[in-house]
């Protein structure tokens, strides 16, 4: 009999084992906590910022190696090495300068960037929300299309006074997306079908549904036979708002409100706690009496609704007002990048959505000013998420020591 032992009650039990930081007690001063928080914030920012820088550098290289004129210069590298370098530098710096100018360099540009960032923020919140519950929502694209279709239909079919019409259209967009996301959520909850596969399939189905809708009389304006819908009525459009010289539409505030709501839901309510618990450790959540399937379903419904709002803000706000074929799908994929870059946290999502919005709104200006095509943005974004998703990669490039941050692991396998 050895493990069952008793010792004099006065002696404190020895501090258990290996924790190097154990024993400090709980009375740590508030000031120290704030400093620690700031340090954490700094740590959290290092990787995304470096990822952005690296992506821009590599994006510049891609520009150089796909620009015929610059490549010509490199062809004569041996005879004129400086010329090649100069041409490359000019190309890259001019492109990025034009990008900067037309995205955040002018009030007009800022307005355009904010409008571009709005659906990205909402869709990014959608992906981030699902992330927090341990789900990977690749289906923002499809949910967004269904949401936009519902909102658009309400917007151009019904004829109501604006104070009723606009909210109705927004609610329809949310519900449409929620229902579409809910399919994946319920399938995951009931059968264990992996949400990555189901949401991707639902994306393709939604593209077809949109095409079908756009061919139908209910959507197509009379006398047209291309894939476009009637424009949303004035009464359902998001009003323009001017802040100084910057003009945006009200969708921007919807996105801000959604971010606050998501934060509050996740951090301040028991439901949000359950979602996070299920996301972090479904086994322990189940042992603590939480219903894991219900949380999966709920997470996908809310995520779908947020993506639906993204589509809604796009269709009810300038400049579109009309649904077109295959128009929205890119937002769904950018949303993944936005969520990853924003570390699945609402404030981070807003910042990274602004960044991506700037890239997008600046790219047309860039193409006009230089010969660099708009598509380079896609490459830069792909590079950003690459570096964000692989923090260790960035760390090894910049030789930074690994921080205390916990690795993000969402899904282990295909099991139920």
């Amino acid at each position: 009999m050895t493990t069952a032992t008793e010792q004099p009650p006065a002696a404190p039990p020895p501090a258990g084992g290996d924790g190097g930081d154990a024993g400090a007690g709980t009375g740590g001063g508030r000031g120290r906590a704030v400093v620690a928080r700031l340090a954490d914030l700094g740590n959290a920012l290092v990787i995304p910022v470096l990822a952005l820088v690296t992506a821009l550098v590599v994006g510049g290289l891609v520009m150089v190696f796909t620009d015929p004129e610059t490549l010509d210069e490199w062809g004569s590298f041996l005879s004129d090495p400086l010329g090649a370098l100069e041409a490359s530098w000019d190309l890259v710096s001019e492109s990025y300068e034009a990008l900067w100018r037309s995205s955040v360099g002018t009030p007009r540009g800022i307005g355009r960037t904010l409008v571009e960032a709005t659906p990205l923020a909402l869709a990014g919140l959608s992906v981030a929300f699902a992330f927090r519950a341990g789900l990977f929502n690749i289906g923002a694209a499809g949910q967004l299309i269904i949401g936009a279709t519902c909102a658009g239909w309400v917007g151009f079919t019904w004829d109501l006074p604006a104070p009723i019409h606009l909210p109705l259209a927004v609610v329809a967009g949310f519900l449409g997306g929620a229902a579409w996301g809910g399919i994946a959520g319920v399938l995951k909850a009931r059968t264990g079908a992996h949400e990555v596969i189901t949401t991707i399939m639902l994306n393709y189905i939604s593209y077809r549904l949109l095409d079908y809708a756009l061919r139908s009389d209910a959507f197509q304006p009379p006398g047209r036979d291309d894939l476009i819908s009637k424009p949303v009525r004035e009464s359902a459009r998001l009003p323009e708002v001017s802040l100084g010289e910057v003009t945006v539409h009200a969708g921007v505030f919807v996105a801000l409100a959604a971010a606050v709501a998501v934060w509050w839901l996740l951090e301040r309510t028991t439901t949000g706690f359950r979602l996070r618990a299920v996301g972090a450790n479904p086994d322990a959540a189940r042992y603590a009496g939480m219903s894991v399937p219900a949380m999966y379903a709920l997470a996908m419904v809310v995520a779908g609704g947020l993506a639906g709002l993204a589509g809604t803000s796009n269709i009810l706000g300038r400049p579109s007002f009309s649904l077109t074929g295959g128009y929205y799908s890119f937002i769904g994929f950018d949303a993944i990048a936005v969520a990853l870059l924003g570390r699945a946290n609402p404030a981070g999502v807003l910042v990274s959505a602004f960044l991506f919005g700037a890239l997008r709104s600046g790219s047309t200006g860039m193409q006009a000013a230089t010969s660099t095509p708009v598509d380079i943005i896609v490459v830069i974004q792909a590079l950003i998420i690459l570096f964000v998703a692989a923090p260790a990669l960035v760390r090894s490039i910049y030789r930074i020591k690994a921080g205390r941050g916990t690795a993000q692991t969402f899904t282990a396998s295909w099991g139920s």
Partner: protein, 517 residues
């Protein structure tokens, strides 16, 4: 083979796992390596086996320096290791597992299964390790799986065999068999290193004993020169009292009644087969048995975590069969789960959140589903203080705490709301003696408050120290219920091995006398 470790030091970030350890194992010798959890035994052996690299010191095999960089090298040098958690691929056959890594092959790398099977059969005949080479591992009981592990080492012609806590999952009878095998291997000239924290086993089998504490060797001895008390003092570093102080139980009314419960395991096999139990207020009923005899499934079914196929569970006379875990909490159940990291805690969330994990939806922690952060933090600070959880702050992710402190977080959370029934599964597994003593005292205190305690433990010592009554399970049935006074190690051992299967499914109400032959 003679194995010498000289001045081995190994540091991990923040800890020194081994400090200048010297160890010599002669060929033909059984050498027991004793120490508490975390004393550095496993680290030391992982260095010998090439899984870790020592920061300082050297290893000599038969007098030759041996620089081991990988398990492959260790195996080639004649070292074999039977890990505490078996290193067997569950979906492979015995033969496939045994030959993995040293497969006999034909042209194009084709596996020569006939040859592999022949060699496995030959080895199992020679050492009396009966196994079917074509059986699939996951269908085999743990005792047989362990034989496969030993076969694996012999197949590679291991001349030094390391056994890491080999008896944890065995019945007393299987332990006897294992000891005979070990003795036979040593007599054949092999050296055997037997790692354990169980003193009695070390005294029973070893030729020599080395005791580790805090990563250092605190003594070499032989079974003839020492006894349990002295070894325990050496291991823990101070005199230890071997019994928990507790007053006789004053059992009250029945709290938990389990009636003819039938439960299936994950693979759909019947794991609990008609178990009936009663736990009364103010008593500790321990479930004893070799791991894997349905205890886990029984506890999960009681807690609403596993569907009940037949039978009933009653709490305070109310039928709660098939309630979900949340309803069970509301009915007055507190549960300390077996796998604390997987099921008990959410490692990435702070200590404070983990302390209210299953109580957050109650007042005062939340109102109308809005969390009251201040109450949660105040509550956490109080529990951390009261249960002496060593943590830098209540905002630290709980995964950063040591095992003992993690378990204290769970204990604090569950004991806080345990007012009727407390179910504990392996509450002290893998903890150091200090934490174990602390938790044991808390359990007894809860009992004395009048809470009904159901303790599931595969540590016989823990069962004997804490229990007021003991229900022994074997193959999903209760094969006997003993009062603490009539229980002893031998009697329990017999029951745990299923010695009285005819007397199966005795109703464990406590009034009934069970005779053990």
């Amino acid at each position: 083979m003679k194995v010498e470790l000289r001045g081995i030091t190994k540091r991990f970030p923040g800890v020194v796992a081994c400090k200048g350890v010297d160890l010599t194992v002669e060929s033909g010798e059984v050498h027991a390596l004793l120490g508490e959890n975390g004393a550095g035994k496993s680290t030391l052996m992982n260095i010998l086996f090439g899984l870790y690299r020592a920061d300082e010191g050297e290893v000599c095999l038969d007098g030759e320096p041996f620089d081991c960089r990988s398990p492959a090298q260790a195996i080639a040098a004649g070292i074999g290791m039977v890990h505490q958690h078996f290193m067997l691929v569950p979906v492979f056959t015995v033969a496939e597992n045994v030959m993995l890594g040293v497969e006999p092959t034909g042209p194009l790398g084709r596996l020569d299964r006939v040859e592999a099977r022949r060699r496995v059969e030959e080895l199992s005949d020679r050492y009396g390790l009966a196994v079917d080479p074509d059986a699939v591992i996951e269908d085999l009981p743990v005792g047989v799986q362990q034989r496969v592990e030993i076969l694996k080492a012999l197949y590679r012609d291991a001349r030094c065999l390391i056994l890491d806590e080999p008896t944890a999952v065995l019945t007393p009878h299987e332990i006897d068999e294992l000891m005979a095998i070990i003795r036979q291997l040593a007599d054949g000239g092999r050296s055997v290193i037997f790692i354990s924290h169980k003193l009695r086993e070390a005294l029973g089998i070893a030729d020599r004993i080395t005791v580790l504490r805090g990563g250092e060797v605190v003594g070499h001895t032989t079974p003839a020169e020492t006894d349990e008390q002295a070894l325990a003092a050496m291991m823990v570093g101070r005199d230890v009292q071997l019994v928990v102080d507790k007053a006789p139980a004053r059992p009250g009314e029945p709290v938990l009644e389990v009636d003819g419960l039938v439960v299936s395991d994950d693979r759909g096999h019947r794991a609990v087969d008609g178990v009936s139990l009663t736990v009364r207020a103010g008593e500790i009923l321990a479930i004893a048995g070799v791991q894997g005899n349905g205890q886990s499934e029984l506890v999960e079914a009681i807690c609403g975590l596993r569907p009940v196929d037949a039978g009933a569970v009653r709490l305070d006379g109310r039928d709660v069969t098939g309630h979900d875990p949340r309803a069970m909490f509301r009915a007055g159940l507190a549960h300390v789960p077996e796998d604390r990291q997987r099921d008990g805690l959410i490692g990435s969330l702070p200590v404070a959140d983990n302390l209210v994990l299953n109580q957050l939806d109650r007042r005062p922690f939340s109102r109308r589903s809005v969390i009251n952060r201040r109450e949660v933090r105040r509550h956490a600070a109080r529990l951390v203080e009261e249960f002496d959880v060593r943590t830098p702050s209540i905002d630290t992710p709980v995964g950063n705490l040591s095992g003992g402190n993690q378990q204290k977080v769970i204990i604090a959370r569950e004991f806080f709301h345990a007012d009727r029934l407390l179910v504990l599964s392996q509450p002290t597994r893998g903890l150091d003696v200090g934490s174990i003593q602390y938790i044991h005292r808390q359990i007894v205190a809860k009992r004395d408050e009048g809470v009904a305690v159901l303790l599931n433990s595969s540590e016989l010592d823990e069962v004997l120290a804490l229990a007021d009554r003991i229900a022994v399970v074997y193959r999903g049935r209760v094969v006997g219920v003993l009062d603490r006074e009539e229980a002893n190690r031998e009697r329990l051992g017999l029951l745990m091995a299923g010695a009285v299967e005819e007397a199966a499914a005795v109703e464990a109400t406590g009034e009934e006398e069970v005779t053990v032959t």
